[in-house]
Each structure stands twice: as C-alpha cells, then as structure tokens.
Point group: C2
Chain length 184, copies 2
DNA sequence: AGATGCATGTAATAGGTTACATGATTCC
DNA sequence: GGAATCATGTAACCTATTACATGCATCT
C-alpha cells in the first residue's frame, strides 16, 4: 500500500508524546494504536534511521546492564513542526486505512481548534458516502428477488450502509460533545 | 500490503460470473466491488497474464471496429476449482482488508452451505474483538478525567467499539435470516 | 476534427510482510 | 542454566500506486 508515509507521522506522533526506543514504538502496535494500524519492527527500524537522517528525530544511547545499548529516540523541533503540519492537513480519504482516525488519535485536547473542522469535514464526507451507498442499494436491489440471486453482494452493501450510518452517528455525537465543551 | 494474492481470487470470482476483458474488470473496482476493494489496471493486466500462464484463465481475441483487439478472459476449470477452494477456506483476519466481506460478496445463493459456518466463525471473532475492545476502554479510560486528557484516543477506541457492535449486529441479523430461509 | 472513453501495456517507486540473523537481560 | 523477553538490524519478496506510453472507436 503505497500510502503517503503515514507510518512516519505515527512515529513522530508517538515520539511527540514521549521519548522511546524502536522496540517501544514497535510494541505500540500491539496495544493502543494497534487497534487500527499495523507495523513490524523490520519496517520501523530502517524508517527511524531515515527520519534521523532527515533530522526529524534524534537518538541518545542508553546502556542497560553490562553491554546492551538502547537507542532512545526523541522528536526534534523540525519533526514536531512536520507532525503538526500533517495533523492540521485535511485527512485524505483514499486507501484502505482511515487517515482521519489516525489524526484524531493524536488530538489529546478536547478544546483543540483542530477538532471542529476535522469533524465537520468527515461528517460531510461520510454523509455523502452514505447517500451514495443507499442509492446504489436501491438501484441494484429494487426488490427481494435481486437480493436472493446476489445475496452476498446485497449483504456486503447493507453492511457498508450500516457501517457508514454508524460512522455518521459517531461523528454527530462528537459534534454535540464539542458544543457542550464550548459552553463550559 | 503483502497479503495473500487476494486480487487473484477477486478476478477469478468476477470471471466466474461472466467473461470479461481486463478493462471490464478494472471498471468493477469503480462500482460494486469498489465499495470495499481497490485495484488499478496496472496491477490487473500483468496479473491476468500470470494467471493465464498458470492456466487459471484463458482468453480469446475479439476484434472491435477495424483494428482494436480486445482480450476477453474466461475462467478455466482449474481456475474455478481454485476459486471455490479459496471461498470455502476460513477468512484470515490479518491485514487492513476484511477478507470475509470479500468472500461473502461472491456467495450468490442464500441457501449455500458455506454461509452458516462462515457467519458463525465471523460472529465468534467479532464478539471476541468487541469484548477485548470494551476491556481496553475500561482499562484505559476508567473515568472522565482520562478521557479529557487523551480525547482523540478515547474517541477512536469508542469508534472501534461501535464499529464492532454494528458488525456483530449485522452478522446476527444474517443468522436470523438464514434460519428463516431454512424454514421455507 | 476533436473530445471522451475504450483498451492494453510497462517502469519506477513506495509500502508492507516474512524470514533470516544476532546477542543481551531478566526472571524463575 | 534455561526460557522468555528485550533489543536491533538486514534481506528477499510481494503488493500497490503513480507515471509513462500508445493507439483505436465512438459520438458530437
């Protein structure tokens, strides 16, 4: 999936939270961020090197025990700048992965100015997609007969519709929450 | 995404429905199957050649107008066999793509024997995942304070929970429908 | 005659998985 | 002393995207 360097931003985002080793970063994909993104250490270690060469991160050596040398990476000012730029850029709705969820994950503060436009843009996108899917279903499956001769296709389309409905509802709930935060 | 040759099975599945050209197959990813899978012609054309070399498909030339030669591909007995084997194999729950949805898409007949075990297996998987996610949320966000200091993370986790809930409900609805079909 | 769509291909590049490879530390 | 985990790296391979490249057919 020749996406757009998303792993780079994930690593920057994680390093923005706290300094970590490549091993620590790898473990993040087993727990929290692993719910919706994956990466192996064989992808992470070389990328960290390239990111350091680009001066987005730096490392210091930590000696553990007698011999073992850990590399603890830290984000640089340049890296933080690039990360913030990425966070403020509207999520692209292309590939299999949902870049919006990825960005949202890194917005810690419910009062962040980034949130309202992010949510609104996503809501527009998913409402349009939902409308499109419903139209598709109506066109392809006007009656029960079509459903029974392309059963799997109908089920999959219905699933897509329900998924988009859930996505929309979730976004609307966030919008309401945000409005409530503003009153406080 | 070094997945497991899923595009091959999609092409076999589409060719199993009707004979088509590479161009036709490419267009499928703009409409029906495009709701949940993507492929470009630059990936499809070479793959069709490899599949033909492996004798899973064959082609005949159709002349359109004066000069233009179309290649209309057809699935072979060997190709159909491989496709059916894949369809009957439990979906793998690894990558970013949902292989189950892909297989389900190709099951036309609501009375297919494949359906009950497929649905049951998926239901088990998604119930386990839902339980896991709920546990994660309870652990990471025991109170409102944690939510307000990792707001995005909490939202994303909640989204995952709602998505899995919707998935489970959808599967349960299918189970009920299947039981109804058996009575008829 | 020109625009749009049909039709097929290759090349370069990027992203991602699996396997190979090594060694130290910590816990039991 | 042995097992599990920590820790880092490379190599081979596969998958996917973007760009390059070409030419015909149909419709207006």
């Amino acid at each position: 999936m020749a996406q757009k360097n998303r792993l780079k931003y994930i690593l920057l985002g994680l390093l923005n939270t706290k300094n970590q080793t490549g091993y620590d970063l790898t473990k993040s994909f087993d727990s929290d961020i692993g719910e919706f993104w994956n990466a192996n250490h064989s992808q992470i270690y070389p990328l960290l090197k390239r990111m350091e060469a680009a001066q987005l991160i730096s490392h210091r050596l930590i000696t553990v025990g007698q011999k073992l040398q850990k590399k603890e990476y830290a984000i640089t000012a340049k890296g933080r700048e690039q990360f913030m730029d990425w966070l403020a850029t509207p999520a692209e709705m292309d590939g299999a992965h949902d870049e919006f969820l990825l960005k949202l994950f890194f917005v810690d503060d419910p009062h962040s100015e980034l949130l309202p436009p992010m949510i609104r843009t996503q809501l527009g996108y998913h409402e349009a997609k939902l409308a499109h899917l419903k139209k598709q279903f109506a066109q392809k499956f006007p009656n029960q007969n079509q459903i029974l001769t392309s059963y799997g296709h109908a089920l999959v389309l219905r699933h897509a519709i329900e998924r988009e409905t859930g996505y929309r509802d979730w976004l609307q709930t966030i919008m309401r929450d945000l409005a409530r935060f503003e009153d406080e």
